[in-house]
Every structure is written in structure tokens, then in C-alpha cells.
């Protein structure tokens, strides 16, 4: 006697599994939190960026002013007056050694 086992077909599940749906929602939620966190930080960086730009500009200006100050102290008019104050004078006669 041959026993023929009846083969029962399983019906395919419709839609996503609950697990995937929950995982997606959690991911979206995490992304949302990350976005809020990043946005919040970036806003704070805007202020930092503004301050740094202002500092860079001030340093650039200070650098320019210092360069000018150095040039003023190095100027021949200044050197001549300082050397006169210190008692230096022009050579009266020059001896050439051969």
C-alpha cells in the first residue's frame, strides 16, 4: 500500500514583517535625533565660525599694523635721528687702505 502524503502549500505572507517595520521606525527615529543634534551643533558652530572669522580679521589687521611699526622704526629718518641722539656723526675724512 502506498501512502501518498498530502502536500499542503503554504500561502506567501503579505506585506513586511513586523520586525522590519519596527526596525525602520527605530532607524528613522534615530536619524531624526541625529539630525536634531547635528542641526543644534551646527547652529552653535555658526557663532564659533563668526568669532573665529572676527579673530582672524583682527589678527590680520594687527599684523599689518606691526609690519608698519617695524618699517617706521627701520626708516632711515628714524635711524639718522637715533644715531644723532647717540652721538654718531658723519665721517669728516675717509682713509682708504690699499
Amino acid at each position: 500500500m502506498t501512502i501518498i502524503k498530502k502536500f499542503e502549500t503554504t500561502e506567501p505572507k503579505k506585506g513586511f514583517s513586523k520586525r522590519y517595520i519596527v526596525l525602520s521606525i527605530v532607524c528613522l527615529f534615530v536619524l531624526m535625533l541625529v539630525e536634531i543634534w547635528a542641526g543644534n551643533n551646527v547652529v552653535a558652530y555658526g557663532e564659533k565660525f563668526d568669532k573665529l572669522s572676527s579673530i582672524a580679521k583682527t589678527l590680520h589687521l594687527e599684523n599689518q599694523i606691526l609690519e608698519n611699526e617695524i618699517a617706521k622704526y627701520e626708516s632711515l629718518n628714524n635711524v639718522a635721528s637715533k644715531s644723532a641722539e647717540l652721538g654718531f656723526s658723519q665721517a669728516e675724512s675717509i682713509q682708504y687702505i690699499r
Partner: protein, 565 residues
């Protein structure tokens, strides 16, 4: 029926919303968008820094200096706070502590005006700005500006020109280098446009557009600051010593045409140019015309020798006394005559009759042609804004007397730069160089070097050598020999030209000059010194020559050149 009316009311309601939306979204879209952009975006103009002007050793002659203006917003400061704010500002800005009250009252008065914006102080330093910023005062702000900075003070004013404003208030260079190179020096301003938040701070992830500012180019000059200092010092001393109305000097490298120094007095302060009359602004070395007098003789002599019309040992057969031409009598400067003199002695004694002899030998056609060859009658193309050239009369208008007087440098007008470069052609073996103040134009991307340019070969090497020896003899045996530095071979020639006044020459008003080069055998510099109307002596040999030799002595030392004899 009731349903119908309700439907109609709803329909009209939605229709009005759609119409209103259409109006905002389509009809007024552009206007609203631009208004929103104005609120969301900030435009910041980035000013380009004006280029520096540097000496040949790249030390600063002119640069930009940041300055700040302090302003107040009277309506943004509470009335009871104004006095307090004014006192805090006054404490920082008053140099003298006793003036704090006066200063504060002045600031209070300004802040009490019925204005939205008021300037409180100009040109405050960056330190003062920082101190005021730290006070965190309401309604107080700063505006950045820039002025020119001259570490050497008013030195080289004529050479530099000055920075003023155009009709629209924008910075613009006038005269000298500032005028000639304004396009290169001023650069191009940039613009930064970024999105901002409600507090006005930049949004980093927002839109950002930037056009970078391009700073102006730097000019590196041929001007040697030591030589510039030496000639300015000596000219200042000379103008006082000789009681001259004006003085100027120019030093040029004969090999390259590079201008090593250039100065004129009376001068002006380029920072406060508005306090000086306009006549002071033009650079006399390139813009003033004058009659060169005897300094011109060496050029006429060079032309005649170059044409083989005379030789150094040619004897003047017309030098035994005054010469009459067309009703005019031509005499020597001291009324002494040297019959049968040779041409070297014509230069040594600065003999006018001898030069009339040479001029006649040369003839008008060749004389006129050599004027052009030596660069007279046209600009030298020096890189300075205010250059002009006196016109030379058309050849057809010349009479015999004009040729005769022009042969000893009267009745013909030149500029100093024309004269010095013509003599440089004798110094360098016959090449007429294009004079240049600027050696290099550079920015962060690279540099452009101004190469020496020979405009023309005017005279033969051998002729330049002969004229040079004549000029050496003029220094060693001429009227100014007592002033020359001993042991050096210097080539030079004095000049004393009367000044034409109302159709005749005033015998008491002269232009005294001296042109020469040293060392004669390997010239490092060619120099011209000029005094206008010196009162101590009218002669170039007693005014311009001593100044020339004093400067030459210091320059030879500066170049580390020992005496050859």
C-alpha cells in the same frame, strides 16, 4: 437651497484663498523672494588692500594702514545711559586725562542729536577699538577704513603722488606712482554672501557664495633708499645754504635706465596733501621745463663729433671775441675769450662762442635731428603720471640766432629727466635708455620684471669716450674744480641758464645746474642737480656743483669705490 448657499460660500472662500495665494506666489513672488533673501542673507564687501610701494631692498616706502571710525546710534541708547557711555568712551580716547570731561561732553552732545547714526571719532587705533569693544556699550560700533602709511614721512612725495578720492568717494591715486599705477595698486574688492539665522549669525549648512578680493599688486622700485636719503638731505641743506626758490635732483643708473633717486623741494606731505597748493603736486623732475644752459653743450658737442664735423683738436676760428648774429651779440659767461681754442677747452671754459662755432658746423638739419635722437621734444616714457615734454619749435621757425643760442643751451626747453637720460647716453657708450622707476610688479601669483630698454643708439662708443674725457677735464680744470672729491675721476658739466621773463632774460634770476656721472670709467650713476633762482650765487659752479660733488662723495662711499688716483 440651504446646501447650495453653504456650497457657494465655501467655494467663494476657497476661491479667495486661491486668488490670494496666486497673488503672493506668482504676482509678488520676485519681490517677496528678494525681501526674504535680504532677511536671510548677509552681503559683506571685502575691501582689497592697496598694494605696497617698496624700495629696491623691499623695505616699505608706502603701505596701507587700517584705521577705524567710531560711530553711535543715538536712538539705540537709552537717554539716561548716554552720559555714562560718553564718559566711558572719553576715558579710552582722551590722550590727556584733564580733557576727559570736555571730550565726554562733546560725545554726549553728539549722542543727544535726533539722528539714527552719528560719527563720534575718526582714525582710532586698533588698541582703542579693542578697549571700547570690551566695554560692551549699547549702540556703539566701528567702521573700518584704510589710509596710506609712509614710514619715511614725507620723503619721496613727488615720486609717490598721493591717495585721494574720486567723484564717487572711492580711493584713487593721483600723480607720481600712485597715479600711474593706480590700476595695479588698487586691486579688486570681493563679496561674501551667506545665509544667516535670526541672530544674524552665519548658518554653516546654508547657502554661501564668495568672490574673493584681489589685493593690489606691490611695486618694487629701482629707488635705493640710501641714495634717496642722501640726495634729500643734501638738497634740503643746499636750498637753505644757497637761498634757492626750489631744488631738485635725479640719480639714474646709466646702464639700465633705472631711477635710483629723485627728489624735489619744496615738497608736500602726501598724507595731508589737501593742506598744500596744487602747484606742489607735480614732480618738477618730469613736469617742469627749463633752459638747460651750459649742461646742454656736451650733447651738441657729442652730435658734432658723431657726425665727424669736428675733432677734439679742431681749433675754433671764431672764438676771439663776441659774435654778432642777426642783431644779437653773443658773449662768454665771464666775457673772457680764448682765440684759436680747441674743443676740449671750449667745454672746460664753457665757452659760448666756441659752441656757436660747433653749432654752425653741425647745421640746423643735423642739430634738429640730434634733438630728437637724444629724446628731446617727446616724453621719456618714464613710469610717472605727471610727465610732460616741452615742445620743440618746428624747424622752419628756427633762425640763425636760435641755432646759435640753442648750441649753448639757451632758447630751448627740456625737462630734467630728458637731460639726465641724454647725458646717461654719454656715460654708457651711446645708448638712450628708457627711464624706469619701477623694477618689478608683483602679487601672490607671481611677478613681472621691468627689463631695461634701449630706445636708440645715439652716438658711437668712441664719441661717448671723447665727450666723457671732455667732461672729466671740465670737472678737473673748470670753475667747480675746488669742490670735486680728490682722487676720483668724475665727468660733469655746470649750467647757468638765465630765466626768460616777459620776452627777455632776467640777468639776476638763473637756473643753476650740474650734470655728471661717476666713476667716469665705469659709471655707477648719472646725476643732475638743479637750483631755481639761487640767491647766494647765480652760477651753477658755485651752487649746484658743490651739492653734486657732496652727494657724489657720499655715493662713492656707499658704492664702496676707492679713489683711483
Amino acid at each position: 437651497m440651504r446646501i447650495f448657499w453653504i456650497q457657494t460660500v465655501f467655494l467663494l472662500f476657497f476661491l479667495s484663498i486661491i486668488i490670494r495665494l496666486f497673488y503672493w506666489q506668482v504676482v509678488r513672488a520676485e519681490f517677496l523672494q528678494s525681501q526674504a533673501e535680504n532677511q536671510h542673507f548677509t552681503d559683506t564687501k571685502i575691501d582689497a588692500t592697496r598694494g605696497n610701494i617698496l624700495f629696491s631692498d623691499e623695505s616699505i616706502l608706502a603701505s596701507s594702514n587700517p584705521v577705524f571710525s567710531l560711530y553711535g546710534l543715538p536712538k539705540a541708547i537709552a537717554t539716561d545711559q548716554k552720559v555714562k557711555v560718553a564718559y566711558l568712551i572719553a576715558k579710552v580716547l582722551s590722550e590727556d586725562p584733564t580733557e576727559v570731561d570736555t571730550f565726554a561732553k562733546d560725545v554726549t552732545a553728539k549722542l543727544s542729536q535726533n539722528l539714527y547714526w552719528v560719527q563720534l571719532e575718526k582714525n582710532i587705533s586698533i588698541e582703542q577699538k579693542k578697549q571700547i569693544e570690551n566695554l560692551n556699550l549699547p549702540g556703539i560700533g566701528f567702521q573700518q577704513g584704510s589710509t596710506r602709511f609712509y614710514p619715511e614721512g614725507s620723503s619721496s612725495a613727488h615720486l609717490l603722488g598721493f591717495l585721494g578720492s574720486d567723484a564717487r568717494g572711492a580711493s584713487k591715486g593721483y600723480f607720481g606712482l600712485e597715479g600711474y599705477f593706480d590700476g595695479e595698486l588698487k586691486g579688486m574688492s570681493g563679496l561674501v554672501r551667506y545665509e544667516r539665522d535670526a541672530l544674524g549669525l552665519p548658518i554653516l549648512i546654508g547657502n554661501f557664495f564668495a568672490t574673493e578680493a584681489r589685493d593690489g599688486k606691490d611695486l618694487v622700485l629701482n629707488i635705493d633708499r640710501s641714495i634717496q636719503f642722501i640726495i634729500e638731505k643734501n638738497l634740503k641743506a643746499g636750498i637753505e645754504k644757497y637761498g634757492a626758490k626750489a631744488a631738485s635732483a635725479v640719480v639714474m643708473d646709466p646702464a639700465t635706465g633705472g631711477i635710483l633717486a629723485m627728489a624735489s623741494f619744496p615738497s608736500y606731505d602726501p598724507l595731508k596733501y589737501f593742506n598744500y597748493p596744487k602747484e606742489y603736486f607735480k614732480n618738477p623732475v618730469v613736469a617742469d621745463q627749463y633752459e638747460p644752459g651750459s649742461t646742454f653743450k656736451v650733447l651738441v658737442m657729442a652730435a658734432a663729433l658723431n657726425e665727424d664735423l669736428v675733432q677734439p683738436d679742431t681749433r675754433c676760428d671764431d672764438c676771439s671775441g663776441p659774435i654778432s648774429i642777426g642783431g644779437f651779440v653773443i658773449r662768454t659767461w665771464n666775457n673772457k675769450y680764448f682765440p684759436d681754442t680747441n674743443l676740449k677747452d671750449v667745454i672746460v671754459h664753457s665757452d659760448n662762442t666756441g659752441m656757436v662755432f660747433v653749432g654752425r658746423k653741425l647745421g640746423l638739419d643735423k642739430f634738429y635731428s640730434y634733438l630728437g635722437k637724444f629724446g628731446f621734444g617727446k616724453t621719456s616714457d618714464i613710469d610717472l603720471q605727471d610727465e610732460s615734454s616741452p615742445d620743440i619749435r618746428p624747424k622752419s621757425d628756427w633762425r640763425e640766432i636760435d641755432l646759435a643760442t640753442a648750441s649753448f643751451g639757451q632758447g630751448i626747453a627740456v625737462t630734467e629727466i630728458q637731460m639726465v637720460r641724454a647725458v646717461a647716453a654719454i656715460a654708457n657708450g651711446g645708448n638712450l635708455m628708457e627711464p624706469h622707476v619701477v623694477r618689478e610688479v608683483k602679487d601672490e601669483k607671481g611677478s613681472f620684471e621691468v627689463k631695461p630698454k634701449v630706445k636708440d643708439k645715439v652716438i658711437k662708443d668712441s664719441v661717448a669716450q671723447i665727450v666723457k674725457e671732455m667732461m672729466v677735464a671740465a670737472v678737473e680744470e673748470g670753475e667747480a674744480k675746488v669742490f670735486r672729491p680728490k682722487g676720483f675721476r668724475i665727468a660733469g658739466k655746470t649750467g647757468t641758464a638765465q630765466i626768460p621773463v616777459a620776452g627777455h632774460y632776467d640777468p639776476n634770476k638763473t637756473i643753476a645746474s650740474f650734470v655728471g656721472f661717476a666713476p667716469a670709467d665705469d659709471p655707477k650713476f648719472v646725476m643732475l642737480v638743479r637750483y631755481d633762482e639761487p640767491s647766494a650765487s647765480i652760477f651753477g659752479s658755485e651752487t649746484a656743483a658743490p651739492t653734486f660733488f657732496e652727494i657724489a662723495k657720499q655715493l662713492l662711499l656707499y658704492y664702496k669705490i676707492a679713489p683711483s688716483e
